[in-house]
């Protein structure tokens, strides 16, 4: 499967990956000028954490082999495709219980900020050849890698 690889040492917290993610999932268009940063409905599905030494850390869905979000999902909204490896989220099935947010050990997931109805979850840009976060990363911190 493809997995977005993270090399934390190269991260400089430029947030281009977060912006890329926001752009790609913006319903109003996929260009940088379509993005209204004051509109809170534009949210990234990834984020940068800062550890105790202020060292930036990209926190991006791993599409885990043993996905806690899926084990805990009671509506069937989270599924793992055993061929592509992707853990997909179907917002139409989701019952907004947010057990997945509680279960993801890496703190990747959150509810949407506007309605708190859906979960913000990486979908690998829906088959896009290079995920937008990777494409936008200027340092090489994020790379698309092949596993297995």
């Amino acid at each position: 499967m493809n997995r977005i690889k993270v090399n934390r040492d190269l991260c400089m917290a430029c947030l281009n990956c977060v912006l890329g993610c926001m752009i790609e999932h913006n319903e109003k268009g996929k260009g940088i000028y379509d993005l209204d940063l004051e509109d809170i409905s534009n949210e990234g599905r990834n984020h940068i954490g800062l550890d105790k030494n202020k060292c930036p850390t990209p926190i991006i869905c791993r599409h885990c082999e043993e996905p806690e979000c899926m084990y805990t999902c009671m509506s069937g909204a989270m599924t793992k495709d055993r061929d592509t490896g992707m853990v997909a989220y179907d917002e139409k099935k989701c019952s907004s219980c947010f057990m997945c947010v509680m279960a993801c050990p890496y703190g990747v997931l959150k509810a949407d900020a506007v309605d708190r109805k859906v979960v913000l979850k990486c979908n690998m840009c829906n088959g896009r050849e290079i995920p937008r976060c990777v494409e936008n990363c200027p340092t090489g911190c994020l790379e698309l890698g092949e596993e297995e």
């Binding site: 954490g49 550890d51 850390t57 926190i59 084990y71 509506s75 069937g76 057990m99 050990p105 703190g107």
Partner: protein, 426 residues
């Protein structure tokens, strides 16, 4: 990806005959077990028997009461589950007896089914407490099966007032569904606040006022004493311990559950609070496994799923232990207010420290001692709180992380595995 093992190692009985797996129950534990068995053993015969006529998530029954979802939309299994995973499902059928010595079960239609490996995942049923007239009354419902929800929904249209007994997660789900109907709603809870197992005073009171704003009348710190019945045994009211009488045409009982074990013969499978299992989901009888609410442990969905998956591995002959049975975790989303409750909700004594943060509609509380977090309530913005779940369940020491406790996140434990997944370094 599932581990790929050569098929000759799996699911094959002596003489090349396929292994016969039998699963009792078609819910969280049963479905996940069936799915996992098929991923590991492409040849075995999988049969699943259930009283349930549909595959659906019990956690969403309020969507039925409130007419927000159809029965089809209640399914948590993927489309074409039975075909894709080659599962033979016998539905709407009760298991009457388990003959573990003969390795077979007897069904309510008189038929019997033999097995090589058996999973008992029959879950639990609503417990109706011994309140006077409660068990006799017509118009008294538990909330466990989709049939309960459908009946509650139909009756709710005919009565003007409804009492929900018990303000735990199931009772509150009942209220949430019933709010979509027109009847007056009353919620009665023995403890002095709602959601007493999950929430502290502050976080519970916020829900109480939200429900009251929706017109729900809440009585806490009071027991139901007696149900008042008409001549033909229909519910007409309920008398509380404080003498108050509420007129009502229906009572929804949400005061806990009891494991479904009545088909188990004496002196066979060990039953305590429920069926006793080890970390491999094995019972005391060989080739018989159990998973989910039937174990009487913690009746939560994720544990049922994980025990079901663990059972599947062991049933096909791959040793697997369930390490994570942490179950003091609940998330809830009622009337637009989201809360996650983890571990302890109150500090047991003064040796614990309590850190609290409030802003906007957010209330966050973390209980800790000597660098170990024992509990947390996160209400409002729950973003990324899965890290807390991990820290609490694994008792990770955070004393060397010089940060506001509310700002600790995964970056403080970051490490990458060879396959690109994250893991914790502590």
């Amino acid at each position: 990806m599932c581990r790929k093992l050569p098929n000759r190692m799996l699911g094959v009985r002596g003489g090349g005959v396929n292994m016969r797996y039998l699963i009792l129950g078609a819910s969280a534990a049963g479905i996940n077990c069936a799915k996992t068995i098929r991923e590991l053993d492409s040849h075995g015969e999988i049969t699943m028997v259930s009283e349930d006529k549909y595959i659906y998530s019990r956690c969403m029954l309020h969507h039925i009461i409130g007419e927000m979802r159809t029965i089809e939309e209640m399914s948590f299994a993927e489309d074409k589950f039975l075909e894709n995973y080659k599962v033979n499902w016998i539905r709407d059928t009760r298991v009457e007896k388990l003959k573990s010595h003969d390795k077979k079960v007897i069904l309510d239609n008189g038929e019997s089914i033999g097995y090589d490996k058996l999973l008992i995942a029959t879950g639990a049923s609503s417990f109706i407490p011994p309140v006077k007239n409660l068990r006799e009354g017509k118009g008294v419902y538990g909330l466990r099966n989709i049939e309960d929800a459908l009946r509650i929904r139909e009756d709710a249209k005919k009565v003007s007032s409804i009492v929900v007994l018990g303000a735990g997660l199931v009772g509150i789900d009942g209220i949430v569904g019933l709010l979509e109907q027109d009847a007056n709603l009353f919620l009665v809870e023995m403890f002095h606040r709602i959601l007493p197992m999950q929430l502290d005073e502050v976080s519970a009171l916020r829900y109480e006022s939200l429900f009251e704003r929706e017109g729900v009348t809440i009585y806490t710190g009071v027991r139901a004493e007696e149900v008042i019945l008409s001549k033909d045994n229909r519910v007409t009211g309920i008398k509380l311990g404080n003498g108050k009488v509420i007129d009502c045409g229906m009572i929804v009982v949400a005061t806990g559950v009891r494991p479904n074990v009545d088909f188990i013969e004496d002196n066979t499978i060990r039953v305590n609070k429920g069926i006793v299992i080890n970390s491999r989901s094995e019972t005391n009888i060989s080739d018989v496994y159990a998973a989910g609410d039937v174990t009487g442990e913690s009746p939560i969905w994720p544990l049922a799923v994980k025990q079901g998956i663990t059972a599947a591995y062991n049933m096909v002959g791959i040793k697997k232990e369930l390490e994570d049975s942490f179950s003091l975790r609940n998330s809830m989303n009622f009337l637009g207010l989201v809360t996650v409750s983890l571990g302890l909700i109150e500090a047991p004594d003064e040796s614990y420290s309590i850190s609290v943060e409030t802003y906007g509609d957010n209330y966050k509380k973390i209980i800790h001692r000597d660098g170990i977090i024992y509990g947390a309530i996160i209400q409002g913005d729950i973003s990324y709180c899965g890290v807390l779940t991990y820290l609490i369940k694994n008792k990770i020491n955070i004393s060397n992380i010089d940060k506001d406790i509310f700002d600790i996140d995964y970056s403080d434990f970051f490490s990458i595995k060879e396959n690109g997944e994250y893991e914790y370094v502590v």
